[in-house]
């Protein structure tokens, strides 16, 4: 029986010729990731271990990104704890204010994640690096602690669902619309415990940033990981960002899949997830009546990359954010921030009446920098719209692409870019 991309990567990291779905294995890790919320818990767990040294100081990444620059004293204590740990263990890839970015945008940009890697991260959106052809998955703080000490983690080898991506997307249809469409189709537990493998000739029309967005939200379908094959775009990205060697694993022709779907990109429309689950999707033309909004967030590990900001700026250029709407733009990394500045995107945002924030996860999870009051609605390029996710339990989050979010900022209600004559 053949193996999927994911199974091949896991087999290679477990020193096995072959693995199959359901098998429990112990795999070597190429990178262990934590942030300012999950790392303090991991550090506390590590303190309880007999061995209190890290397996490889080069293969641990600690990114302060959720509540930083610190929003309050408790957050400051958390970051201090991680900072001291990083200093004590001489962790090479520790990213603090000034160098940091949202972890899942930062690590590929810094070249720390490449094809063929096995990566665990104490953050559910660690699945993002599957865009590069890596196996990466979210775990909790105790697994992170064990990973930092042993350099290994146990996995149950996942079964897989294959998505054949065909066709060319229409203007204003992005990776976000692809993944929201898929989650709407299979549900928030449609890929529970499974790999989501994306293949097909339509992938060439998806930029790396589109692919990061798609892999990022595999978790929103319950997936263990999302993964793309490596093509010329992937190789160009890795060569531009990383000096690490990468390894390409293609699925065997006789690999087994629990289910297969075909997604014709040319048929997709801008798609929005209504409260309070990412599976509650509607295409823009299915929305009846005005959905008036109070806030727009363009950013996050899902959609805070340069392509996302370019799209938002293209729409906002020459327009004004509707009076009474707050539009918050958050470049995901310092590098993206700088690039957006050099390209004049930040000028466009400010002239439109948007505010630009330092990189932070902040509002996505209701931390800070854009909390909603009772009864308020936000259209957001983030990844979750659960009850209370961005603030008050009676607030609402609508998930959408940067194009729809930017157009909605101008009209004050959920809108397609075409409404602005674009």
């Amino acid at each position: 029986m053949g193996m999927t991309m994911t199974q091949k990567i896991l087999a290679a990291h477990a020193g096995l010729d072959h693995v199959e779905a359901g098998q429990l294995i112990e795999a070597d890790l190429d990178l262990v990731l934590g942030n300012d919320i999950t790392s303090p818990v991991a550090i506390h767990e590590m303190d309880k271990m007999k061995v209190n040294s890290v397996f490889d100081k080069e293969k641990i990444a600690l990114v302060m990104d959720h509540f930083i620059p610190n929003k309050d004293i408790k957050s400051a204590e958390h970051c201090k704890c991680v900072r001291e740990f990083a200093c004590h263990h001489d962790i090479t890839n520790y990213f603090d204010v000034g160098e940091m970015g949202i972890e899942h945008a930062l690590l590929p940009e810094k070249g720390l994640t490449v094809a063929g890697d096995v990566i665990i991260g104490a953050d559910s959106h660690t699945c993002t690096y599957g865009a590069l052809g890596a196996f990466s998955t979210g775990i909790g703080s105790t697994d992170m602690a064990a990973g930092m000490v042993t350099g290994k983690a146990w996995f149950k080898v996942p079964a897989a669902i294959r998505f054949h991506i065909t066709g060319k997307p229409k203007k204003w249809v992005s990776g976000k619309d692809v993944i929201l469409h898929i989650i709407g189709m299979i549900g928030v537990d449609g890929a529970l415990y499974k790999s989501m493998e994306f293949v097909g000739d339509g992938i060439r029309y998806l930029s790396m940033d589109d692919r990061f967005t798609i892999a990022n939200m595999a978790i929103e379908a319950g997936g263990k990981n999302g993964i793309f094959p490596v093509d010329e775009q992937t190789e160009a990205y890795m060569k531009a960002h990383s000096r690490r060697p990468y390894r390409v694993y293609d699925a065997d022709e006789d690999a087994v899949y629990d289910a297969e779907y075909t997604i014709d990109l040319s048929t997709l429309e801008p798609t929005i997830a209504f409260p309070h689950l990412p599976e509650n999707t509607k295409t823009i033309s299915e929305i009846s009546g005005d959905v008036v909004i109070d806030q727009v967030v363009i950013g996050s590990c899902t959609n805070g990359r340069i392509d996302d900001l370019r799209t938002a700026a293209e729409i906002l250029k020459g327009h004004k954010v509707k009076k009474g709407v707050r539009c918050i733009v958050i470049p995901a990394t310092q590098g993206i921030y700088l690039q957006a500045m050099e390209e004049g995107l930040l000028k466009t945002f400010i002239e439109a009446g948007a505010v630009i924030s330092t990189p932070t996860c902040g509002p996505c999870l209701g931390g800070y920098m854009g909390i909603l009051a009772a009864g308020e609605r936000c259209i957001s390029t983030t990844n979750r719209n659960f009850v209370g996710r961005m603030g008050h339990v009676d607030s609402e989050v609508y998930l959408a692409s940067p194009a729809v979010a930017a157009a909605s900022a101008v009209t004050g209600r959920i809108s397609a870019p075409e409404e602005l004559g674009l």
Binding site: V41, V51, W154, D189, R384
Partner: protein
């Protein structure tokens, strides 16, 4: 090892944001997290929960964020076991790693109602609804996970190996 208590019942897709809202994640103290457990889905939970009580839910319990604070908050609130039709995978791992017993059992998740007195035998995987006189066979853990649970969590398991 056994659990015994009255049941708090919830539906599908109970996410980690409602189990412990992110606005409280500036703390990692179990007792502090427990005060806010289930706050955004059931404000009365923390006032009514007693040591040993059991949560029963439908599918995909614990979906969303990887925050280990979620099972930590549930355990620190006094809950002895969570029974669900299915669990989100990161929550599943985290619960085992921190020693919060969880059992997947679709039949029990349908049959058991809020307020029922329930007993769970982790060794056999049997679930007894004493209020209704019904019993269910939950899914046993694979041997590998049983070793972690017997050791009292992943940290102890690693300590035993070294």
């Amino acid at each position: 090892m056994q659990a015994k208590g009255s049941v708090f019942k919830y539906g599908d897709n109970v996410d980690t944001d409602v189990i412990i809202p992110a606005r409280y994640l500036n703390s990692s103290d179990p007792a502090e997290l427990a005060i806010h457990c289930m706050e955004d889905i059931d404000k009365d939970f923390v006032n009514n929960v007693k040591k040993g009580d059991i949560i029963v839910a439908d599918k995909n319990f614990g979906c969303g964020s990887s925050r280990e604070h979620a099972p930590i908050a549930i355990k620190a609130a006094g809950v002895s076991c969570v029974i669900a039709e299915t669990f989100a995978r990161i929550f599943y791992r985290n619960a085992i790693n921190i020693g919060l017993p969880i059992i997947e059992c679709p039949e029990a998740s349908k049959g058991i109602q809020a307020g029922d007195e329930v007993e769970v035998d982790f060794d056999s995987g049997m679930i007894y609804d004493r209020t209704r006189g019904t019993e269910y066979k939950g899914q046993a853990f694979p041997e590998f996970m049983q070793k972690i649970i017997r050791a009292g969590g992943l940290v102890n398991y690693i300590n035993e190996k070294n």
